[in-house]
Protein backbone atom coordinates (compact mmCIF):
# COMPACT_ATOMS: atom_id res chain seq x y z
CA UNK A 1 0.00 0.00 0.00
CA UNK A 2 1.33 3.41 -0.88
CA UNK A 3 2.32 5.62 1.98
CA UNK A 4 0.41 8.86 2.50
CA UNK A 5 3.59 10.51 3.71
CA UNK A 6 5.36 12.15 0.73
CA UNK A 7 8.77 11.95 2.31
CA UNK A 8 8.47 8.24 3.00
CA UNK A 9 7.19 7.61 -0.51
CA UNK A 10 10.02 9.51 -2.10
CA UNK A 11 12.71 7.92 0.03
CA UNK A 12 11.30 4.49 -0.71
CA UNK A 13 11.19 5.24 -4.42
CA UNK A 14 14.76 6.46 -4.48
CA UNK A 15 15.96 3.56 -2.41
CA UNK A 16 14.40 1.27 -4.99
CA UNK A 17 16.03 3.25 -7.75
CA UNK A 18 19.41 3.01 -6.10
CA UNK A 19 19.13 -0.71 -5.74
CA UNK A 20 17.62 -1.30 -9.15
CA UNK A 21 19.92 0.87 -11.20
CA UNK A 22 23.32 -0.42 -12.17
CA UNK A 23 26.16 1.52 -10.63
CA UNK A 24 26.95 4.11 -13.27
CA UNK A 25 28.46 7.53 -12.95
CA UNK A 26 31.38 9.64 -13.98
CA UNK A 27 34.58 7.71 -14.59
CA UNK A 28 36.96 9.11 -11.98
CA UNK A 29 40.53 7.93 -11.58
CA UNK A 30 40.96 5.50 -8.70
CA UNK A 31 44.51 4.23 -9.21
CA UNK A 32 47.12 4.24 -11.91
CA UNK A 33 50.30 2.40 -12.90
CA UNK A 34 52.72 4.14 -12.70
CA UNK A 35 51.14 5.54 -9.57
CA UNK A 36 49.82 9.09 -9.43
CA UNK A 37 52.74 11.15 -8.17
CA UNK A 38 54.86 8.02 -7.86
CA UNK A 39 58.38 7.09 -8.88
CA UNK A 40 59.39 4.09 -10.98
CA UNK A 41 62.84 2.78 -11.71
CA UNK A 42 62.17 1.19 -15.08
CA UNK A 43 60.53 2.65 -18.13
CA UNK A 44 56.87 1.60 -18.06
CA UNK A 45 55.63 -0.46 -20.98
CA UNK A 46 52.11 0.86 -20.57
CA UNK A 47 49.99 3.34 -18.68
CA UNK A 48 47.15 1.66 -16.78
CA UNK A 49 44.37 3.76 -15.29
CA UNK A 50 41.73 2.21 -13.09
CA UNK A 51 38.50 4.21 -13.14
CA UNK A 52 35.48 4.16 -10.89
CA UNK A 53 33.32 3.08 -13.86
CA UNK A 54 33.67 1.27 -17.11
CA UNK A 55 34.95 3.43 -19.95
CA UNK A 56 34.52 3.53 -23.70
CA UNK A 57 38.01 3.26 -25.27
CA UNK A 58 36.73 4.70 -28.57
CA UNK A 59 35.98 7.99 -26.84
CA UNK A 60 38.81 7.95 -24.32
CA UNK A 61 42.45 8.87 -24.66
CA UNK A 62 45.81 9.03 -22.91
CA UNK A 63 48.73 11.34 -23.72
CA UNK A 64 52.21 11.33 -22.25
CA UNK A 65 54.64 14.23 -22.19
CA UNK A 66 58.02 14.95 -20.68
CA UNK A 67 58.64 17.77 -18.25
CA UNK A 68 59.71 19.90 -21.19
CA UNK A 69 56.37 19.28 -22.81
CA UNK A 70 57.67 16.94 -25.50
CA UNK A 71 55.12 14.28 -26.37
CA UNK A 72 56.20 10.71 -25.76
CA UNK A 73 55.06 8.03 -28.18
CA UNK A 74 52.03 6.24 -26.83
CA UNK A 75 49.66 3.82 -28.52
CA UNK A 76 45.93 3.74 -28.90
CA UNK A 77 44.22 2.93 -25.61
CA UNK A 78 42.13 -0.14 -24.97
CA UNK A 79 40.34 -1.55 -21.97
CA UNK A 80 41.39 -4.59 -20.00
CA UNK A 81 39.33 -7.49 -21.43
CA UNK A 82 38.64 -8.61 -17.88
CA UNK A 83 37.71 -5.17 -16.54
CA UNK A 84 36.31 -2.38 -18.69
CA UNK A 85 37.11 0.16 -16.00
CA UNK A 86 40.84 -0.23 -16.68
CA UNK A 87 42.17 1.82 -19.58
CA UNK A 88 45.52 0.71 -20.96
CA UNK A 89 47.74 2.73 -23.26
CA UNK A 90 50.99 1.14 -24.48
CA UNK A 91 54.19 3.17 -24.25
CA UNK A 92 55.78 2.65 -27.63
CA UNK A 93 59.42 3.39 -26.77
CA UNK A 94 61.53 3.28 -23.62
CA UNK A 95 61.44 6.57 -21.76
CA UNK A 96 64.43 8.51 -20.52
CA UNK A 97 64.62 9.33 -16.81
CA UNK A 98 62.65 12.39 -15.84
CA UNK A 99 59.24 13.64 -14.82
CA UNK A 100 56.33 12.76 -17.09
CA UNK A 101 52.78 14.01 -17.25
CA UNK A 102 49.94 11.69 -18.12
CA UNK A 103 46.89 13.51 -19.47
CA UNK A 104 43.72 11.50 -19.91
CA UNK A 105 40.15 11.94 -20.93
CA UNK A 106 37.46 9.34 -20.61
CA UNK A 107 33.86 8.72 -21.51
CA UNK A 108 32.22 6.32 -19.14
CA UNK A 109 29.92 3.59 -20.37
CA UNK A 110 27.01 5.76 -19.23
CA UNK A 111 28.38 8.55 -21.48
CA UNK A 112 29.69 11.03 -18.91
CA UNK A 113 32.91 12.79 -19.82
CA UNK A 114 35.79 13.31 -17.40
CA UNK A 115 39.42 14.33 -17.68
CA UNK A 116 42.53 14.72 -15.60
CA UNK A 117 46.28 14.57 -15.46
CA UNK A 118 49.01 13.42 -13.13
CA UNK A 119 52.78 13.18 -12.96
CA UNK A 120 55.13 10.31 -12.32
CA UNK A 121 58.90 10.21 -12.14
CA UNK A 122 61.18 7.76 -13.90
CA UNK A 123 64.28 7.57 -11.74
CA UNK A 124 67.72 7.24 -13.38
Amino acid sequence: MMSHNPAIGLVAGLAFALVASAASAHALLKTAVPAVGGTVTASPKEIRIKFSEGVEPRFSGVALASEAGVAAPIGKPSVDPADDSVLIAPVSQPLKPGVYTVTWHAVSVDTHKTQGSFNFTLAP
Binding site: G9, K30, K113
Partner: protein
Protein backbone atom coordinates in the same frame (compact mmCIF):
# COMPACT_ATOMS: atom_id res chain seq x y z
CA UNK B 1 -4.62 15.49 -1.82
CA UNK B 2 -1.06 16.58 -1.44
CA UNK B 3 0.32 13.59 0.36
CA UNK B 4 -1.29 11.01 -1.88
CA UNK B 5 -0.21 12.80 -5.05
CA UNK B 6 3.29 13.29 -3.78
CA UNK B 7 3.62 9.68 -2.77
CA UNK B 8 2.51 8.54 -6.18
CA UNK B 9 4.99 10.87 -7.82
CA UNK B 10 7.70 9.69 -5.51
CA UNK B 11 7.06 6.11 -6.40
CA UNK B 12 7.10 6.95 -10.07
CA UNK B 13 10.40 8.74 -9.69
CA UNK B 14 11.91 5.81 -7.95
CA UNK B 15 10.59 3.27 -10.38
CA UNK B 16 11.58 5.10 -13.56
CA UNK B 17 14.18 3.17 -15.50
CA UNK B 18 14.86 2.43 -19.14
CA UNK B 19 17.65 1.51 -21.47
CA UNK B 20 18.75 4.46 -23.56
CA UNK B 21 21.03 4.83 -26.58
CA UNK B 22 24.63 5.91 -26.18
CA UNK B 23 25.22 9.65 -26.33
CA UNK B 24 27.89 11.68 -24.55
CA UNK B 25 26.80 13.57 -21.47
CA UNK B 26 28.46 16.30 -19.46
CA UNK B 27 28.72 16.44 -15.73
CA UNK B 28 27.03 18.56 -13.13
CA UNK B 29 29.39 20.66 -11.03
CA UNK B 30 32.46 19.37 -12.80
CA UNK B 31 34.80 21.72 -14.59
CA UNK B 32 37.98 20.24 -16.00
CA UNK B 33 39.46 17.89 -13.42
CA UNK B 34 37.52 19.50 -10.56
CA UNK B 35 34.41 18.09 -8.98
CA UNK B 36 32.63 20.70 -6.89
CA UNK B 37 30.49 18.87 -4.34
CA UNK B 38 26.99 19.99 -3.46
CA UNK B 39 27.22 22.31 -0.48
CA UNK B 40 24.73 23.15 2.23
CA UNK B 41 24.93 26.83 3.14
CA UNK B 42 25.41 28.17 -0.36
CA UNK B 43 24.78 26.65 -3.75
CA UNK B 44 27.46 25.05 -5.90
CA UNK B 45 28.22 26.72 -9.25
CA UNK B 46 26.90 23.89 -11.39
CA UNK B 47 23.51 23.04 -12.87
CA UNK B 48 22.39 19.43 -13.04
CA UNK B 49 19.58 17.04 -12.32
CA UNK B 50 19.84 16.38 -8.63
CA UNK B 51 17.85 15.81 -5.48
CA UNK B 52 18.69 16.78 -1.92
CA UNK B 53 16.56 14.62 0.31
CA UNK B 54 16.50 15.21 3.12
CA UNK B 55 18.27 18.25 4.47
CA UNK B 56 17.94 18.19 8.25
CA UNK B 57 18.90 20.97 10.62
CA UNK B 58 18.91 21.04 14.40
CA UNK B 59 19.58 24.14 16.47
CA UNK B 60 19.33 23.78 20.26
CA UNK B 61 18.58 27.48 20.67
CA UNK B 62 18.05 29.77 17.72
CA UNK B 63 18.22 33.56 17.71
CA UNK B 64 14.75 33.67 19.27
CA UNK B 65 15.71 31.24 22.01
CA UNK B 66 13.59 28.38 20.62
CA UNK B 67 14.77 24.87 19.87
CA UNK B 68 14.53 24.48 16.10
CA UNK B 69 14.36 21.50 13.77
CA UNK B 70 14.05 21.87 10.01
CA UNK B 71 13.48 19.28 7.31
CA UNK B 72 13.43 20.08 3.61
CA UNK B 73 14.08 18.77 0.15
CA UNK B 74 15.32 20.34 -3.05
CA UNK B 75 14.88 19.01 -6.56
CA UNK B 76 16.54 20.38 -9.67
CA UNK B 77 15.47 19.57 -13.21
CA UNK B 78 17.49 20.70 -16.21
CA UNK B 79 15.38 22.30 -18.92
CA UNK B 80 18.14 22.59 -21.50
CA UNK B 81 21.82 21.92 -21.01
CA UNK B 82 23.20 24.11 -18.19
CA UNK B 83 19.80 25.66 -17.42
CA UNK B 84 17.82 24.22 -14.54
CA UNK B 85 14.83 24.89 -12.34
CA UNK B 86 15.02 24.06 -8.65
CA UNK B 87 12.17 23.62 -6.22
CA UNK B 88 12.78 23.69 -2.48
CA UNK B 89 10.22 23.15 0.22
CA UNK B 90 10.52 22.48 3.90
CA UNK B 91 8.99 22.49 7.33
CA UNK B 92 10.15 23.92 10.63
CA UNK B 93 9.40 22.81 14.16
CA UNK B 94 9.98 25.29 16.98
CA UNK B 95 9.77 24.69 20.69
CA UNK B 96 8.22 26.91 21.79
CA UNK B 97 6.54 28.18 18.65
CA UNK B 98 4.80 25.31 16.96
CA UNK B 99 5.50 24.15 13.45
CA UNK B 100 4.74 25.10 9.91
CA UNK B 101 5.78 24.96 6.28
CA UNK B 102 7.99 27.63 4.83
CA UNK B 103 7.14 29.25 1.53
CA UNK B 104 7.91 27.39 -1.67
CA UNK B 105 11.24 28.42 -3.13
CA UNK B 106 12.17 28.17 -6.80
CA UNK B 107 15.30 29.07 -8.67
CA UNK B 108 16.04 29.32 -12.36
CA UNK B 109 19.79 28.94 -12.80
CA UNK B 110 22.14 28.99 -15.78
CA UNK B 111 25.75 27.84 -15.77
CA UNK B 112 27.29 30.18 -18.34
CA UNK B 113 31.01 29.70 -17.98
CA UNK B 114 33.47 26.87 -17.43
CA UNK B 115 37.20 27.31 -17.98
CA UNK B 116 38.35 23.71 -17.77
CA UNK B 117 42.15 24.23 -17.56
CA UNK B 118 41.67 26.68 -14.70
CA UNK B 119 38.80 24.81 -13.02
CA UNK B 120 36.70 27.97 -12.94
CA UNK B 121 32.97 28.01 -13.41
CA UNK B 122 30.18 30.50 -12.88
CA UNK B 123 26.42 30.58 -12.98
CA UNK B 124 23.63 33.10 -12.54
CA UNK B 125 20.15 32.54 -11.21
CA UNK B 126 16.91 34.12 -10.11
CA UNK B 127 15.55 32.75 -6.88
CA UNK B 128 11.95 33.37 -5.88
CA UNK B 129 10.21 32.58 -2.60
CA UNK B 130 6.47 32.59 -3.12
CA UNK B 131 4.03 34.09 -0.64
CA UNK B 132 1.05 32.11 0.61
CA UNK B 133 2.62 28.75 -0.20
CA UNK B 134 3.63 28.07 3.39
CA UNK B 135 1.81 27.96 6.69
CA UNK B 136 -0.07 31.17 7.47
CA UNK B 137 1.57 32.99 10.33
CA UNK B 138 4.72 30.92 9.89
CA UNK B 139 5.93 31.96 6.47
CA UNK B 140 6.37 35.45 5.08
CA UNK B 141 3.18 36.91 3.54
CA UNK B 142 5.16 38.40 0.64
CA UNK B 143 7.28 37.20 -2.25
CA UNK B 144 11.03 37.56 -2.24
CA UNK B 145 13.11 37.72 -5.40
CA UNK B 146 16.85 37.17 -5.33
CA UNK B 147 19.15 37.52 -8.34
CA UNK B 148 22.12 35.29 -7.61
CA UNK B 149 25.60 34.58 -8.88
CA UNK B 150 27.65 31.48 -7.99
CA UNK B 151 31.30 30.94 -8.79
CA UNK B 152 33.79 28.16 -8.17
CA UNK B 153 37.54 27.95 -8.57
CA UNK B 154 39.82 24.96 -8.11
CA UNK B 155 43.53 25.39 -7.58
CA UNK B 156 44.60 22.40 -9.64
CA UNK B 157 46.19 24.74 -12.16
CA UNK B 158 48.88 25.80 -9.72
CA UNK B 159 52.40 24.60 -10.54
CA UNK B 160 53.43 21.22 -9.19
CA UNK B 161 55.82 22.99 -6.83
CA UNK B 162 52.64 24.02 -4.97
CA UNK B 163 51.11 20.56 -4.94
CA UNK B 164 50.06 20.98 -1.35
CA UNK B 165 47.59 23.66 -2.43
CA UNK B 166 46.22 22.03 -5.58
CA UNK B 167 43.47 19.97 -3.85
CA UNK B 168 41.92 23.19 -2.55
CA UNK B 169 38.95 24.91 -4.14
CA UNK B 170 36.75 27.82 -3.22
CA UNK B 171 33.19 28.63 -4.18
CA UNK B 172 31.18 31.76 -3.52
CA UNK B 173 27.64 33.01 -3.80
CA UNK B 174 26.24 36.51 -3.83
CA UNK B 175 22.59 37.45 -4.00
CA UNK B 176 20.28 40.32 -3.21
CA UNK B 177 16.92 39.39 -1.68
CA UNK B 178 14.26 41.93 -2.51
CA UNK B 179 10.86 41.58 -0.84
CA UNK B 180 7.77 42.36 -2.89
CA UNK B 181 6.39 44.47 -0.04
CA UNK B 182 8.37 47.03 1.91
CA UNK B 183 6.54 46.36 5.14
CA UNK B 184 4.07 43.96 6.70
CA UNK B 185 1.20 45.27 8.80
CA UNK B 186 -0.83 43.42 11.38
CA UNK B 187 -3.38 44.35 14.04
CA UNK B 188 -2.94 43.10 17.56
CA UNK B 189 -5.13 43.50 20.66
CA UNK B 190 -4.05 44.02 24.22
CA UNK B 191 -5.72 42.60 27.34
CA UNK B 192 -8.28 45.42 27.32
CA UNK B 193 -9.32 44.77 23.75
CA UNK B 194 -7.65 47.85 22.40
CA UNK B 195 -6.28 47.42 18.90
CA UNK B 196 -2.86 48.52 17.75
CA UNK B 197 -1.27 48.49 14.34
CA UNK B 198 2.08 46.73 14.12
CA UNK B 199 4.26 47.50 11.15
CA UNK B 200 7.34 45.41 10.44
CA UNK B 201 9.86 46.51 7.85
CA UNK B 202 10.87 43.91 5.28
CA UNK B 203 14.50 44.67 4.55
CA UNK B 204 16.35 44.10 1.32
CA UNK B 205 19.15 41.71 2.24
CA UNK B 206 22.53 41.12 0.67
CA UNK B 207 23.45 37.44 1.03
CA UNK B 208 27.09 36.59 0.71
CA UNK B 209 28.94 33.42 1.39
CA UNK B 210 31.81 31.24 0.37
CA UNK B 211 33.30 27.82 0.96
CA UNK B 212 36.84 26.51 1.28
CA UNK B 213 37.26 22.87 0.30
CA UNK B 214 40.09 20.35 0.44
CA UNK B 215 39.38 17.37 -1.79
CA UNK B 216 41.09 14.05 -1.14
CA UNK B 217 39.49 12.58 -4.30
CA UNK B 218 41.17 15.35 -6.28
CA UNK B 219 44.49 14.73 -4.60
CA UNK B 220 44.25 10.99 -5.23
CA UNK B 221 43.47 11.41 -8.92
CA UNK B 222 45.76 14.28 -9.83
CA UNK B 223 48.60 14.71 -7.37
CA UNK B 224 49.48 11.67 -5.27
CA UNK B 225 47.77 8.51 -4.18
CA UNK B 226 45.90 8.71 -0.91
CA UNK B 227 46.71 5.69 1.22
CA UNK B 228 44.64 4.11 3.95
CA UNK B 229 41.02 2.98 3.88
CA UNK B 230 39.04 3.57 0.69
CA UNK B 231 36.60 5.95 2.34
CA UNK B 232 39.37 8.51 2.69
CA UNK B 233 39.54 8.78 -1.08
CA UNK B 234 35.92 10.00 -1.03
CA UNK B 235 36.26 12.67 1.63
CA UNK B 236 36.14 16.43 1.19
CA UNK B 237 36.86 18.66 4.16
CA UNK B 238 34.90 21.87 3.94
CA UNK B 239 34.10 25.04 5.80
CA UNK B 240 31.22 27.18 4.63
CA UNK B 241 30.60 30.80 5.52
CA UNK B 242 27.14 32.26 4.95
CA UNK B 243 26.15 35.80 5.88
CA UNK B 244 23.15 38.08 5.48
CA UNK B 245 23.42 41.85 5.65
CA UNK B 246 20.35 44.13 5.47
CA UNK B 247 21.07 46.88 2.96
CA UNK B 248 17.70 48.54 2.43
CA UNK B 249 14.62 49.25 4.48
CA UNK B 250 16.72 48.38 7.50
CA UNK B 251 14.82 47.88 10.77
CA UNK B 252 15.59 49.78 13.95
CA UNK B 253 18.91 48.70 15.36
CA UNK B 254 20.78 49.09 12.12
CA UNK B 255 22.13 46.70 9.55
CA UNK B 256 23.23 43.79 11.74
CA UNK B 257 24.93 41.08 9.73
CA UNK B 258 23.91 37.58 10.70
CA UNK B 259 25.34 34.29 9.58
CA UNK B 260 26.98 31.02 10.34
CA UNK B 261 30.35 29.36 9.94
CA UNK B 262 29.94 25.71 9.05
CA UNK B 263 32.90 23.33 9.24
CA UNK B 264 32.14 19.82 8.12
CA UNK B 265 32.85 16.79 6.00
CA UNK B 266 31.43 15.47 2.74
CA UNK B 267 31.57 11.87 1.61
CA UNK B 268 31.29 11.70 -2.18
CA UNK B 269 30.19 8.41 -3.68
CA UNK B 270 29.70 7.87 -7.40
CA UNK B 271 26.07 8.96 -7.62
CA UNK B 272 25.34 10.43 -4.20
CA UNK B 273 26.96 12.23 -1.34
CA UNK B 274 26.31 12.83 2.32
CA UNK B 275 27.41 15.94 4.16
CA UNK B 276 27.42 16.93 7.82
CA UNK B 277 28.34 20.38 9.09
CA UNK B 278 28.30 22.24 12.38
CA UNK B 279 26.32 25.49 12.48
CA UNK B 280 28.27 28.07 14.42
CA UNK B 281 26.40 31.38 14.76
CA UNK B 282 28.61 34.42 14.34
CA UNK B 283 26.70 36.51 16.89
CA UNK B 284 23.63 36.34 19.17
CA UNK B 285 21.45 37.70 16.36
CA UNK B 286 22.36 34.56 14.41
CA UNK B 287 21.72 32.04 17.16
CA UNK B 288 22.67 31.12 20.67
CA UNK B 289 24.08 27.62 20.32
CA UNK B 290 25.96 25.52 17.83
CA UNK B 291 23.65 23.47 15.66
CA UNK B 292 24.12 20.76 13.10
CA UNK B 293 22.99 20.26 9.52
CA UNK B 294 23.13 17.15 7.37
CA UNK B 295 22.11 16.34 3.85
CA UNK B 296 21.78 13.32 1.61
CA UNK B 297 22.19 14.30 -2.01
CA UNK B 298 21.53 12.28 -5.15
CA UNK B 299 23.09 13.03 -8.53
CA UNK B 300 20.23 12.07 -10.79
CA UNK B 301 22.28 12.68 -13.92
CA UNK B 302 24.58 9.91 -12.75
CA UNK B 303 21.80 7.60 -11.64
CA UNK B 304 19.69 8.05 -14.77
CA UNK B 305 22.11 9.48 -17.36
CA UNK B 306 19.96 8.90 -20.42
CA UNK B 307 16.51 8.93 -18.90
CA UNK B 308 14.03 11.67 -18.12
CA UNK B 309 15.21 12.15 -14.56
CA UNK B 310 18.83 12.57 -15.51
CA UNK B 311 18.96 14.61 -18.70
CA UNK B 312 17.59 17.95 -19.92
CA UNK B 313 13.97 18.19 -20.96
CA UNK B 314 14.97 19.64 -24.31
CA UNK B 315 17.97 19.44 -26.57
CA UNK B 316 19.97 16.73 -24.87
CA UNK B 317 23.62 17.44 -24.19
CA UNK B 318 26.43 18.51 -26.44
Amino acid sequence: MFSRTSSALAGAIGAAAAIAPFSPAFAHAICGSRVFPATLAIDDPGVSDELALPTLTYIPSNSGGAREFDASFSYTKTIVENLGLSVTYGKTWLNPGGNGWGNLDTELKYMFYCDEPHEFMASVGLDATWANTGTTGFADPFNTFSPTIDIGKGFGDLPTSLNILRPFAVTAEFSLSVPSEAHTSSISYDNFGDASLDVALNPTVFNWGFTAQYSLPYRNANISEVGGPDFLRHMVAITEFAFQTPVGNVPLGGPVTTGTIQPGLIYMADSWQIAVEALIPINPASGNHVGIVGELHFFLDDMFPNQFLGKPLFGGRS
